[in-house]
Assembly symmetry: C2
DNA sequence: ACCTGAACACCGTTCAAGT
DNA sequence: ACCTGAACACCGTTCAAGT
């Protein structure tokens, strides 16, 4: 009874892997993890399931492709891999939220405007901002990680962070550690934030972040003070915090650790720190 | 045709939420995320689905309870919350892998044996070791996070880390940042490692980690050198790295960042650092 | 209060058949 | 080579009925 093929294809364009992945991303954006269904997909693309299975092996591969496409866009890459979206114009728009992404109004730092530190922050915020339009991203990243740990997406993130770690002057023996720490922090913080955003939307679609965080910290304040003294102590602090600021502070924390631990001076690259 | 109720209940113990959660953990451990099914559960518990639904609202709640039980055990807590396993003996054993968990043979550090730093490392390794028996844990943590960001599990981890952050002497204004950074790193690194373990087991059940890491770094070396110069450069380094050492190095990196950024000296707690 | 189990709606996937 | 669509196996969940 509902209208079939809600959005007719703009041209007589044949079905392609790119179009399928594009539709998958749209469904995920619109209705979350549960919104991507082969039936919803066939309706949207006006085909049968068999047609989709001719281009894509199964649902996991489709999810991986959707995840890879969004991450690639967030990292501003035009990759040659097959798991990419066809329309870079549309993806570029996705990576650009309402507010300016560029780290314009940032606290005064001692580095030059385009230092490796700044580039790391830019990469991190690229992913951070991508989850605003794609709240399903962190969960899917985790799922893909559990399916194939060194699939296509993780290496891409690792590579872009790693290059800046190298540019930072970290001795080669610590590249892996430093890059891993940064990537792990970014993925962890990004996931937490996606969850906050999603639940803020769910609880009250038109309520703003401040109100949601107030409610969340209220929930924290309701915890047993004997079991959760620390959380109760930071509840007020959480209510007032700004997510982006917090995210940046965490990155700078890791960057400081890398600098302090792996960039002592110019010599003693041969003697790694004690711990 | 298979034997029903493979493990008959030891006593005439009635069905309870605890028994259901326990069986859920066993199924997850045995067959992963896809292994937990209401049909498998009813077979194992020798009941019908309706009986389970009387004790548990739905599958998500069951997964959350299983996740919470394993995390609580890993943190060595006996919580009063309902989402816990009934048999602490069995859970205590789960938290204790074949090798000693206690940070006995660690690199020489400048802190006292039971410093907050050491306690943070112990908490982190508690979670780290838990995923050896429960590879599904990180993914489920991510899923629960996306379902209810400040559910029961995250606060528990946040609380135990946060207390040590406070004990570290971090000024109150930075508690949230410091604890968040640690938790995010731990969750991120833990997830990565669970993925590595799982895929190592999948690729070849009897092959050891070294061989698997060799294969993984081979895969890295197969990447396009133009697109992935950094990953290619660290591929060899990855082959030789020890996971636990790497995990610890990351934690120490964050700890160093916290110390350097938030513990400058005793005064100037009123003037936060520039960045 | 606690449990049973048939039944329902929905899902991913397959495959013989078309063009 | 590419697509169709009925059909299959399986899943989470419900609910009238039992004790």
């Amino acid at each position: 009874m509902a209208t079939r093929a809600r959005r007719s294809q703009r041209r007589t364009e044949a079905l392609s892997r790119e179009r399928i992945v594009e539709a998958a991303v749209e469904l995920l954006d619109a209705a979350g993890e549960g919104g991507l269904t082969f039936r919803a997909l066939t309706e949207r693309l006006a085909t049968g399931p068999g047609a989709i299975y001719w281009h894509v092996a199964n649902k996991d591969e489709l999810l991986d492709a959707a995840t890879g496409a969004v991450v690639a866009a967030a990292l501003s890459l035009d990759s040659t891999e097959p798991a990419e979206l066809a329309e870079p114009a549309e993806l570029a728009e996705l990576a650009e939220p309402t507010e300016p992404v560029e780290p314009a109004d940032r606290a005064e730092s001692a580095q030059s405007p385009d230092s490796p530190q700044d580039k790391i922050r830019a990469i991190a915020f690229g992913l951070y901002d991508a989850i605003e339009d794609h709240p399903w991203l962190p969960t899917q990243l985790a799922l893909q990680l559990s399916r194939s740990p060194w699939g296509s997406v993780t290496p891409r993130i690792f590579e872009s962070i790693g290059r800046q770690v190298r540019a930072l002057g970290v001795p080669e023996g610590h590249w892996f550690t430093a890059a891993s720490a940064l990537v792990h922090y970014i993925l962890g913080a990004t996931g937490q934030n996606a969850a906050n955003n999603a639940s803020a939307r769910t609880l009250a679609p038109d309520v703003d972040r401040a109100e949601f965080l107030g409610a969340a910290s209220k929930a924290w304040e309701g915890l047993d003070p004997d079991d959760y003294p620390f959380i109760r102590a930071v509840a007020a602090q959480m209510r007032e915090h700004d997510d982006r600021e917090q995210f940046l502070a965490g990155i700078d924390l890791v960057l400081t650790g890398i600098t302090a631990l792996h960039l002592p001076s110019e010599q003693d690259r041969t003697t790694p720190p004690a711990t």
